[in-house]
């Protein structure tokens, strides 16, 4: 038996890869349908909420790259979200750029800022890194309000902008198109992240997290990997910020308080640490569960949210991703 035959004959661990081609195709179609149906099913407020959930999922994905896969705890990813949002808002409202044109700039700026944060992160690590990134999240809204850059940022008032126009050939209104835009950008980022994680670099990121000394012995340049992971992570979360700026049509410093960073962290844990798909559920959770909490009790939504959160963590100790993994394993055992 040749080496390649041997590989083909082996069982695979990854759920998606364990399914037959038609099953994967069907899953993909079902996913696409599930993603598009809300376009016609939901009226504009709920569609807006779903758009924001997709955006949060993308932001959680960014956090998952550096914290989930690479093990560098960041409690300050809201800062990158804010930088992305402001990059897009400034270019659109001051310079009349189109939304799409702002995306590469936003990604580049956030990537650079992330890379910059990555260097002190090399020396800190662990809880110290968590606190340092947290202070970044606390500082950013105040920096955005600062008088020196008020002309650009709009200070406390913030900046207004408008959603991108739907292309003429599509029978969609601006809210529906915004949902599609968020889906397209997020889907692309999820695909690229998926590719990244299951290849050479993804293994290196996890290896440096699991055992740095052994990782170095395998030839992994830990400093380069960690700083680049921070850059890529900030880039993805920053793109989510760009999307949120146009979806909300407004940016202001207080939309990016440290609560946002904590929310992203909650989303990552609930969705599944070091899980691409889990990030999607994390986004849905942080957007909708607070609403559910408020529907249950107007007086103390925070308490209900806390209870729901604890219940989730108790029932799903390794997040939604863990639940999916168990379901997939059961499915395969049933089929095989």
């Amino acid at each position: 038996m040749s080496a390649t035959d041997r590989i083909a004959a082996l069982p695979l661990r990854r759920p998606a890869a364990g399914l037959a081609a038609w099953q994967r195709g069907a899953l993909l179609l079902a996913g696409l349908a599930a993603a598009l149906v809300p376009l016609w099913l939901l009226e504009s407020f709920h569609l807006f909420q779903l758009t924001m959930a997709v955006i949060m999922a993308l932001a959680v994905l960014g956090l998952n790259i550096v914290t989930g896969y690479n093990g560098q705890i960041s409690l300050g990813h809201g800062a990158f979200f804010a930088v992305g949002a402001y990059a897009t808002a400034i270019l659109m409202s001051h310079l009349d750029w189109s939304f799409w044109a702002t995306l590469p700039v936003s990604a580049a700026v956030c990537g650079l800022v992330g890379y910059g944060v990555g260097f002190p992160a090399l020396r800190l690590g662990g809880l110290y890194l968590a606190l340092t990134t947290f202070s970044l999240a606390v500082a950013v809204p105040q920096i955005l309000k600062h008088r020196a850059i008020e002309d650009w940022t709009g200070g406390v008032q913030g900046l207004f902008l408008v959603k991108p126009d739907p292309p003429g050939f599509l029978p969609l209104n601006a809210d529906q198109w915004m949902y599609c835009v968020a889906l397209i950008v997020a889907a692309l980022c999820f695909l690229l992240a998926w590719n990244l994680i299951r290849g050479r670099i993804g293994r290196a990121l996890m290896a440096t997290r699991d055992h740095p000394i052994a990782a170095e012995a395998m030839g992994m340049d830990i400093a380069a990997l960690k700083t680049q992971a921070f850059a890529v992570s900030a880039m993805i979360t920053g793109l989510a910020g760009s999307l949120s700026a146009v979806a909300v049509e407004y940016v202001a410093p207080d939309s990016f308080s440290f609560a946002l960073s904590i929310n992203l962290f909650v989303g990552m844990v609930v969705g599944g640490v070091a899980s691409i798909l889990g990030s999607l559920f994390g986004g849905l959770f942080v957007l909708f569960v607070p609403n559910i909490a408020e529907a249950i009790s107007k007086a103390a939504p925070g308490v209900i949210y806390g209870v729901l959160l604890i219940a989730f963590l108790y029932l799903l100790p390794d997040g939604f991703a863990g639940l999916l993994r168990r379901l997939a394993a059961r499915l395969r055992r049933g089929a095989g």
């Binding site: 041997r6 690229l192 590719n195 050479r200 996890m206």
Partner: protein
């Protein structure tokens, strides 16, 4: 010229001198045993050779090049592979992923090429997958390939470490107590495996082991340490007869309890 040259290496930890001026060489494709009672300084010397520790004095040359002081992550690309005495696997990953991670030094592609799955990244991935499959078969790990490493018994994990080190085609393989946790039959199989590995991968092996029978059977040459000093260096037969070695292992008790 020898493949590995260890010259007057000294390692001090605070007041403790773990290695006190040790020199020896390993030739290309040679199997060299490194023995000594507990605390003799074997693992410390390994860590100096693979760049994890900087020696307080002395240096290490590999294939003619001074490697002491080079960045740690360069060692694999230079042709130095190693395993760890107390296991240093990537615990969250499967056996296959661990072995593939060992191929990191063989690759060149970065974040962008992998995210876009450019042809270069796919080619690397395919090459690594083929080699990993071969090594998993050679080390009889194919039936556990997709199992998370942490779930496997100690002896199996040691074989995963060996596969992970071999996939980058090292010219020198450093094995720190590969027989740890193995029974008699398994040690026999390991002896055969080590010879096969050296022949098939054309690599030299530096073998730290307490299992004296194994060392004496497979080694072309044996170096003995005691209290950080080299006490003997020669063929297995010579070292076995050496009075200092006999004294170190049978003599004054104390920390030498594990001599086997």
């Amino acid at each position: 010229m020898a493949l590995l040259e260890v010259e007057e290496v000294v390692v001090r930890f605070g007041g403790v001198t773990a290695v006190a001026g040790v020199s020896f060489t390993v030739e290309d494709r040679q199997i060299c045993g490194l023995i000594g009672p507990n605390g003799a300084g074997k693992t410390t010397l390994f860590n100096v050779i693979s760049g994890i520790y900087r020696p307080s004095d002395g240096l290490v040359r590999f294939a003619g090049e001074v490697v002491t002081g080079q960045p740690r992550h360069r060692m694999a690309a230079l042709g130095l592979g190693r395993t760890f005495q107390n296991l240093a696997l990537f615990r969250s990953m499967s056996v296959r992923e661990n072995v593939l991670a060992g191929a990191h030094a063989e690759g060149r592609t970065g974040f962008l090429a992998n995210a876009l799955r450019l042809p270069a990244a796919r080619r690397e991935e395919r090459a690594a997958a083929v080699q990993a499959a071969q090594l998993l078969a050679l080390l009889e790990l194919d039936h556990v390939a997709e199992v998370p490493v942490a779930a496997l018994p100690f002896g199996t994990q040691k074989r995963v470490e060996m596969a992970r080190a071999l996939i980058s085609r090292p010219r020198l393989l450093l094995l720190d107590e590969p027989a740890g946790g193995l029974n008699h039959g398994e040690v026999d199989a390991l002896a055969a495996l080590l010879r096969e590995v050296a022949a098939r991968f054309h690599c030299a092996i530096l073998l730290v082991e307490h299992h004296m029978n194994l060392v004496m059977r497979v080694s072309d040459k044996v170096v003995a340490l005691d209290f950080g000093r080299k006490i003997a260096d020669g063929t297995p037969a010579e070292v076995r007869r050496d009075p200092e070695v006999i004294r170190a292992y049978l003599g004054d008790g104390g920390g030498h309890a594990r001599a086997a």
